[in-house]
């Protein structure tokens, strides 16, 4: 799949996911919290297309409600990361000098933590709430955007239209906001698409480790952690939340690939 086809495929699946998440009460066949202990671990059947978990809750409904948490946390974490990255990266790139040097050395430190390690460390001391999960994902998420934006701003700063704006008396904030940022949004959007896939996996990973969203909230990662105890007797606990998670992540990755090819044909890999 190239360019437009990838964008279409990824976008369609994501839109379906968003609709399912927003309208979860309509699509979910049952209440995701209602327990029927006598039917614990029941396999998929007519009433419960994805089966029931150990407390007899309907897995299909929990998967649908789980989309809310995944997409919300993923979107919020990327939004915060992008905003912080845009501000910090613009300052570093535009102000240059000591500001740039200082900010880049700070990003070096953050980049020394592999993957979600920093989020794991933060969640080990923070209360496991959705807001804290967003916070700890953004705590390392902003770094990549800051570096990306800095690099872009550095090249833009020397362009004629920026000098022109400067000569016509525009201040740095105005120049960055009105003239530079609009020109560097493409790579940021592409990165954000991959970033959201990463944030969703990270949220699910934290929840899987017991450091993220807590029971009884339906998070795909927590559902997979539950399922791990019943792999032998009830593999459906593991199957369905995983399909939803992998499908979401894959669609976002495909969307990102497509956006990259579309927005920046020169960088095609």
């Amino acid at each position: 799949m190239r360019g437009n086809a990838s964008i279409r495929f990824g976008a369609v699946i994501i839109v379906i996911m968003v609709i399912a998440a927003v309208a979860a009460p309509i699509f979910a066949p049952q209440d995701p919290y209602t327990q029927t202990l006598s039917e614990g671990l029941a396999p998929p059947g007519a009433d419960h297309p994805f089966g029931q978990d150990k407390l007899g809750r309907d897995i299909a409904s929990r998967v649908i409600y789980g989309a809310r948490i995944s997409l919300m946390v993923g979107f919020a974490a990327v939004l915060v990361s992008v905003l912080v990255g845009l501000i910090v990266g613009s300052i570093a790139g535009y102000a240059g000098g000591l500001w740039d040097e200082g900010i880049m050395r700070v990003t070096d430190v953050f980049l020394a933590f592999p993957g979600i390690l920093l989020a794991i460390a933060l969640m080990s001391v923070l209360e496991p709430r959705v807001g804290n999960v967003v916070l700890s994902l953004s705590a390392f998420g902003w770094v990549g955007y800051a570096r990306l934006v800095r690099g872009q701003v550095l090249t833009m700063r020397e362009r004629d239209f920026v000098s022109a704006a400067h000569a016509s008396g525009a201040g740095p904030v105005r120049i960055i906001a009105r003239h530079i940022l609009v020109n560097i949004l493409s790579p940021v959007i592409v990165e954000a698409s991959f970033g959201m896939a990463g944030a969703i996996v990270a949220e699910a990973g934290l929840s899987f480790l017991g450091l993220g969203v807590q029971a009884p909230e339906p998070s795909w990662g927590a559902m997979l952690a539950d399922g791990r105890n019943f792999l032998l007797v009830a593999p459906h606990l593991t199957l369905f939340p995983g399909i939803a998670l992998a499908l979401t992540v894959m669609s976002l990755n495909i969307l990102g690939d497509g956006l990259r090819d579309w927005l920046d044909p020169a960088q095609k890999r």
């Binding site: 020394a112 933590f113 592999p114 979600i116 390690l117 460390a121 593991t238 992540v249 890999r269």
Partner: protein, 306 residues
């Protein structure tokens, strides 16, 4: 080369100091009191005071920070609260298992990615190529904490071929290593394919063929050699995903490595141990990136003179 090396190592010092400071800050912003968490609500004030003293928590934060940094310089990572043993010892016991898992995952990733990437590049646009690309997208999108359980259901429970969990010999390494290596293999395969596509039409390969080399030699010795540089870049970029993926993979398979120790330390609220584990993993990551840079400079002399 020596000057380059020296410069890279000197530049690492502030980074490592920053990492140590950040880890100290994170584990000391705990809103609650670690002593309360360890002793529970029912402990007597005298007991609390005693533990506080033993842990050095009665000192001002700056003094604690100083002795923490001082300890690190001497290789002292503190003492585990949970079982009262040096953190460095506990880590050392777990390193072989983690190293084994990570290296096996890397080996599997390369063993799948290189041949598949070569075939896909040589027959670009064919069904094989599209199939491999689709597999790569899928492989890069499956989280380890789903792939792991799926492999367990299929290979351990249904087929009974491989152990479910634990570290009990070579067979028990297969599933965790495949789980951890899959995403990396997908990324490496895409990279191998695209870098070969760039190299394949170039003249020097025709020259190599013209002087009578076999197609295999042309590909593996001449073409792949030039694909090596981006491969090293991606490997060092992906090392982070590999190390943090190992934390979750080790948890899925009850693999007794540093990652599982980290999670166990977090559940036990053993903060010195958490601190030590996080520092260690970050250190390995930084060291890995340094190695990648060195390899890069060694393969491509232009880098050294910048």
């Amino acid at each position: 080369m020596r000057r380059y090396l020296l410069r890279r190592i000197v530049l690492l010092i502030p980074v490592l100091w920053g990492v140590a400071t950040l880890v100290f800050a994170v584990t000391n912003i705990i809103p609650g009191d670690p002593v309360d968490l360890m002793l529970g609500e029912t402990a007597r004030p005298a007991q609390r005071e005693e533990l506080r003293k033993a842990l050095g928590l009665d000192r001002p934060l700056l003094v604690q920070y100083g002795s923490y940094l001082g300890g690190l310089l001497k290789g002292d990572l503190g003492t585990s609260i949970h079982n009262n043993r040096p953190v460095a010892k506990l880590l050392a016991e777990r390193i072989p298992a983690s190293a084994e898992l990570t290296i096996a995952a890397l080996a599997i990733a390369l063993a799948i990615a290189l041949p598949l990437g070569i075939v896909a590049a040589r027959r670009a646009g064919s069904l094989v190529d599209m199939g491999a690309s689709a597999l790569a997208v899928l492989g890069a999108s499956i989280p380890v904490f789903w792939l792991g359980p799926l492999l367990i259901i299929f290979f351990s429970i249904d087929l009974g071929w491989l152990p479910v969990s634990g570290r009990t010999g070579v067979l028990s390494l297969v599933l965790p290593a495949v789980t951890l290596g899959t995403a990396l293999s997908a990324i490496l395969m895409r990279l191998t394919r695209s870098s070969l596509l760039e190299v394949l039409p170039q003249d020097y390969l025709s020259t190599a063929r013209a002087k009578g080399l076999t197609e295999r030699k042309v590909l593996w010795l001449h073409a792949l050699r030039n694909a090596c540089l981006p491969l090293i870049t991606i490997l060092s970029l992906q090392l982070g995903a590999l190390l943090s993926g190992a934390i979750i993979t080790e948890t899925v398979f009850a693999w007794p490595g540093v990652g599982r120790l980290t999670i166990q330390a977090i559940s036990a609220r053993d903060y010195p141990l958490v601190q030590g584990c996080v520092l260690f993993i970050a250190f390995v990551y930084v060291a890995g990136n340094l190695l990648a840079d060195i390899a890069y400079a060694w393969l491509d002399p232009r880098v050294r003179y910048n």
